[in-house]
Amino acid sequence: MSAKKASPAPLASPIGASPPRIDAHEKVTGAVQYTDDIPFGPRLLFARIKRSPHPHARIVKIDASRARALPGVVAVVTGEDYPGYIGLYLQDRHIFCRDRVRYVGDPVAGVAAISETIAENALELIDVKYEVLPAVFDPEQGAKADAPLLHPKLEDYVVAPFIFPQNGTNISNHFKIRKGDPSEVWGICAAIVERKYTIPHIQHVPIEPHVAVALVEDSGKVTLWASSQSPFAQRNLIAKTLGISQSDLRVVAPAVGGGFGSKAGVSMEALAVAIALKTPGRPVKLRLTREEEFHTAFVRQGLIAYFKMGCAADGRLLAMENRYLWDGGAYTEYGVNVTRAAGYSSSGPYEVPNVHADSLCVYTNHPVGGPMRGFGMPEMHVGLEQCIDDLALQIGMDPVEFRRLNCLKTGSTLVTGSKMHPIGLPECIDQAAKAIGWGSKAAPSSPRKRRGKGIALMWKAPAMPPNAGSSAWVRLNEDATLTVGIGGQELGQGTFTVMAQMAAAALGVPMEWVRIATPLDTEYSPYEWQTVASRLTWSMGNAVVNAARDARGKILKVVAEAWNEAPEDLDIVNGNVISYKTEESLPMKDLVVYGLPRPDGKGWTGGPIVGDGNFMPTYVTGLDKETGQGERAVVHYTTGAQAVEVEVDLDTGRVTVLRGVAAFDVGRAINPGLVRGQMEGGFVQGLSTALFESLQLQEGVLQNPSFVDYRIATTADAPEQVEAIMVEVPQDDGPWGARGIGEHPMVPTIPAIANAIYDAVGIRLSSPPYSSEKVYLAMLEAGLVD
């Protein structure tokens, strides 16, 4: 092993660069494997699920004898065999319904057969007798004392300590903020706005529907392959409900075709495992049709929000009184935390001395509310940011100026009593306003159109348990490439690429030398809480950096011993170990597996290098049950602003978004190209929910369960341009100062568009989507058109 003199000049750091994503090639060639692409051989069985046609009913009797007799059917499963409860924050759900069904689509039985067609045909042969029960379709109704009780056993459910169910009611969480006293200051407010906003249910609509394959071996070991954001959470929750040990359930998570939260937690995956337990030795595949996605996958819960806010004559916000009633759906095991997150964020990104907020999660006989991009923030900001505009206009203040005055800044006191860490929200506002050309209006494209501009701010913290952890390992190979093991999933957001950049930078090697160990597999991947909450760049990034630094330290220790130097005088640059003292240089190859000979020639030092690291926040203190106050409610906040320019057609009511500007404080953009991807993609997804999307539920039955009538944005609906502005005020404990950005670009889009519509035609709608029809009828009612 010869040492070379004079190390080469270091390559530019990958941090802050936008190299192409590392999984791009396999995606454009169709080589990447999603769960439904994996061949499982001729022994594969297919499952289909028998589902409730009623929103609320008691199951009187299930007779599956005819189905079991159908040739090709291998097993039929019901809730009888699975008494356990399952849930992330509140265990309120069974795998298959046992005594009752609580929403249209609730799983009642599962069939495994040799073909999907036979399994489907078998469903018709399962006879279920129901006794229909009175149903709840509205959280305000559901919260009343005399409402039918959907979960009579609520007080027995296992629940996380920071969730507060109200036993004997349909309220599965009640989060309160009691800060100061609004009643003392309403009298001195120069302007008060009081509004009610209703946000309909929408859905994630990943282009890849849910799919899971489960195999139970004779030994009892279970393997689950699933399109999954959360292999470890799925392992944990499913193992717990089945009463098996986590290590006896292996979860493999291949490529995911879009998640947005729908593939987090546990939804249909448990069904596949439950069915496979009855067909040991044969894998069982369950895939949802698109219609089943709409009917039965997680939804973003609806919200009825009451806002009251007041400000002084100079524009300073003095008080807010907000009441949020969440239409949590049939099971709120995940949705209870959305309620909490909205509660501790209920002031919006503003400093308000007096805030009373009540955020209630209410059971209804609607589809199951779960985690969706934004986790309560988009729903809450719809009304909040429109009220802010209203208030500003009432006192004759420009909406941008009003926000500039009241927005959170470094050191601001938050609604939970904590202090805001360094943030660049004021700069986001300034940049967004400037980029959209705030204060000037171009002429409309025709006499029958009106133009308007609108702005909205947002804030969001990762909503997760206080001890959600990340871990990583880094293994060096003989060619000096490194394989990085992580448990966080690539959903398209680019996490594999960003982790490769970070590992390379932390170790001192070119980014091309980094491989990510895929697919994620709980057998060898290190633990990651979940891929949600925009937490990976920050949390898993820290773990990856720690693991890479650990490996680096081990490498330098070996070379230091071989060279008889101090490790502090050594470094790794471009994959070469160099000495600043002697200018010696040694390629990392070989030494990272085989070590180096001792300086005295007698023996060897080193060996195969494996680094490990983890990260878990340790400083979240919790919030008082009655007041919602606490020293540190969350790990950190990402804040930002969006501004839009729209055109409204007076003849049809059609709202066209001409262009958008997104300005977010990301701390540090590790890969600006990927950050732009989130800002553009989130904006268009937000635009889609603003103009087109709602799950039309009537008496609990979904009226638009397909792409024909659940419309999402197409190429023709995207604006000409979405400008992505990255403000960088570093996060103290983020890798290179980075914090999350995945969800945030979708949060302020609806109110930004609503505010722009108001600017254009002077009308406000009490709920999205702002369809052409709703806008036209509102203009009609306002006398703007005839």
Partner: protein, 297 residues
């Protein structure tokens, strides 16, 4: 919950080689057999469980089904199985019936239009059918073949209700015929969907106008509406207004009002009746104004 199947239900694919064979088969298996061409409506209904046919009869390859012919005397013969993309690309249609190409172009998406057919769109008899208006205003008729031989059905008599046509058991449409278009005609299809492009028509307005010295105004218009009645609707009253009196902004408004009065939309998951009525008025005004300006130019 009613749920679509994961894939198509079981059926037999039948491919007759002659028209008579096809019609006989359909008649003999009436209630169990259905003809199909592009399949874009058929497959969806089968998967949704709305139709339950045991035999799907592929009639695309029968003689004359795919050709497009035009001559100045006879007009257009559009083979039933000619795809919407073929219609959009056809030079004769672009020259003589550009309104039909415009309407076809508004349907669904580029890949779907490789399979979708104009005749299929007509036989589907949805009041929302995008090409129904153009075919009606061009006074189209359908060449039909049955076990008893061939006949023609004028389009004005073809649509009997949502999904219901005047076809008898065992009959197949072999072609759409459009007579030579009126000289100097201009047309416009205005479609209002939820998205900017690609959606079904929440309201569709087809307007065709041409010079006619025998008309009081010197012009005749034909106006058809989609999605605002149980069938695609030709609105004679609106056309009358434009034919009687000199055309100007006021008469165009009056025609639009007449169209609004003549339609009968419902509330459904896609849109409300009140909105649809007003959109009929606004879009008829726009479409007629557009055609009028081109007639004057």
């Amino acid at each position: 919950m009613t749920n679509a199947r994961p894939g198509l239900p079981e059926f037999d694919y039948i491919r007759p080689t002659g028209l008579d064979e096809a019609c006989r088969y359909l008649k003999e298996h009436a209630g169990q057999a259905r003809p199909f061409m592009g399949g874009t409506d058929t497959f969806v209904r089968l998967r949704d469980g709305v139709w339950h046919d045991t035999y799907l009869v592929d009639v695309k390859h029968l003689p004359g089904m795919r050709t497009i012919e035009f001559d100045a005397a006879q007009g257009l013969r559009l083979g039933a199985a000619a795809s919407m993309n073929q219609v959009i690309d056809d030079p004769a249609i672009a020259r003589h019936y550009p309104l039909l190409a415009e309407a076809a172009r508004s349907v669904a998406s580029f890949p779907l239009r490789t399979r979708a057919t104009v005749v299929g769109n007509l036989c589907n008899a949805s009041p929302a059918g995008d090409t129904t208006g153009a075919c009606l205003v061009f006074d189209g008729l359908l060449e039909v073949h049955g076990t008893g031989g061939g006949r023609s059905i004028p389009l004005r008599q073809f649509f009997l209700g949502p999904g219901k046509t005047a076809l008898a058991s065992g009959e197949i449409v072999t072609a759409l015929r459009l007579p030579p278009p009126p000289a100097g005609a201009f047309g416009h299809y205005l479609k209002l969907g939820r998205n900017a492009l690609s959606d079904l028509a929440i309201v569709g307005v087809t307007a065709l106008g041409y010079p006619d010295p025998s008309a009081g105004s010197g012009f005749r218009f034909r106006i058809a509406l989609a999605s605002v009645a149980p069938v695609p609707l030709l609105v004679e009253a609106a056309a009358e207004v434009l034919c009687r009196e000199p055309i100007n902004e006021t008469t165009i408004r009056a025609a639009a009002d007449a169209a609004m009065a003549a339609c009968n939309p419902i509330d459904d998951v896609r849109g409300g009746a009140e909105y649809r009525r007003r959109m009929v008025r606004n879009l008829v005004r726009q479409a007629v104004t557009d055609v009028w300006q081109r007639l004057l130019a």
